[in-house]
Symmetry: C2
Subunit: 174 residues, 2 copies
DNA sequence: GTCTATATAATGATAGAC
DNA sequence: GTCTATCATTATATAGAC
């Protein structure tokens, strides 16, 4: 899927790379869509674990950005999104996971960024959406060989995240 | 391509929707890749005209953002990018156009935004890359039904662009 | 130029042996 | 469970009539 796109993931090829016959895959997964859903389920479980681990790290903002810019994970995610675009059977699962991941990030970001430190305010859900946008596009473009502005965007995001970071305070007296 | 993805654009289906036989298409376009290249060439010519028109508008920053968030144009662009990801024959043309469009935007932005008005500096090429990222992801997600953070991100971009806008000055004395 | 007919390969899915 | 064999469909591409 990473190398040739979602359209290259066929029952026969998955079966071959798993060393079994195509019929056996049909035995476990009645349709090709069922197989893709199972693949996505596996990938999204891994994603969710990585995301939760990042949000629990020492520097959650930096870890979140590292999670977002993991090229394998993000490239796979984009491929599944493209798949969702014209395979309605698996669209719902992908949308659900995307919304769930964004909600998790939003909730975490509410505690991680200072609410009033920005000239133009950007809410937690806005930060989550922007981070996802930049990383997805950067990984996607890198995959085909586009690189203009990538280093600058990466530096900008990192500096902005550092600036947004809420300073940890001692517990306030009541 | 918009409704079913790039994989649905086959010689047969294009021929049928054009009311001719598939063989006739092969007469004009030897291979399926040649056909896709011709389709992309047509689409990118239109894109380039729209971009140049936007950059020559009264409010180029607002027009650029309108260009970037044109859903048909952007969704098609994303589809071609996905195609480039695993059809090497047309990858080069797509990369060339993407780099060209980014360079055009970068050059225009250098005159449109104030260089030192930002807390964390973001160069013109960085602005171009970020705008493309946000619009692409917003359109892409909207297409499958993801919408969290979209309104916030859109408002943030518009406010930020307004704030970045370089005030037009009278010609300076030498 | 434009067509019908066809060669070849790959797809999803099923029947039925073991 | 796991396999071979097979069907129907669709893809790219070509041969050859007109």
């Amino acid at each position: 899927m990473l190398e040739e796109g979602y359209a290259a993931v066929t029952v026969r090829r998955v079966a071959k790379s798993a060393g079994v016959s195509a019929t056996l895959l049909h035995y476990y997964y009645a349709t090709a869509d069922d197989l893709l859903i199972a693949l996505y389920s596996h990938a999204s479980d891994k994603d969710l674990a990585s995301l939760k681990s990042a949000l629990a790290a020492d520097d959650p903002l930096a870890a979140l950005w590292a999670y977002q810019t993991d090229s394998t994970r993000t490239a796979l995610g984009v491929e599944f999104l493209a798949l969702a675009n014209h395979r309605k059977s698996i669209r719902m699962k992908i949308v659900q996971f995307a919304e769930h991941a964004r909600a998790l990030q939003t909730k975490a970001l509410a505690d991680l960024i200072a609410p009033d430190s920005e000239f133009v305010p950007c809410s937690p859900v806005c930060v989550s959406m922007l981070l996802t946008s930049v990383s997805r596009n950067m990984i996607f473009e890198s995959g085909v060989g586009i690189s203009s502005g990538h280093a600058e965007a990466r530096a900008f995001v990192q500096q902005t995240l550092a600036r947004l970071k809420r300073k940890r305070m001692r517990p306030q007296p009541p």
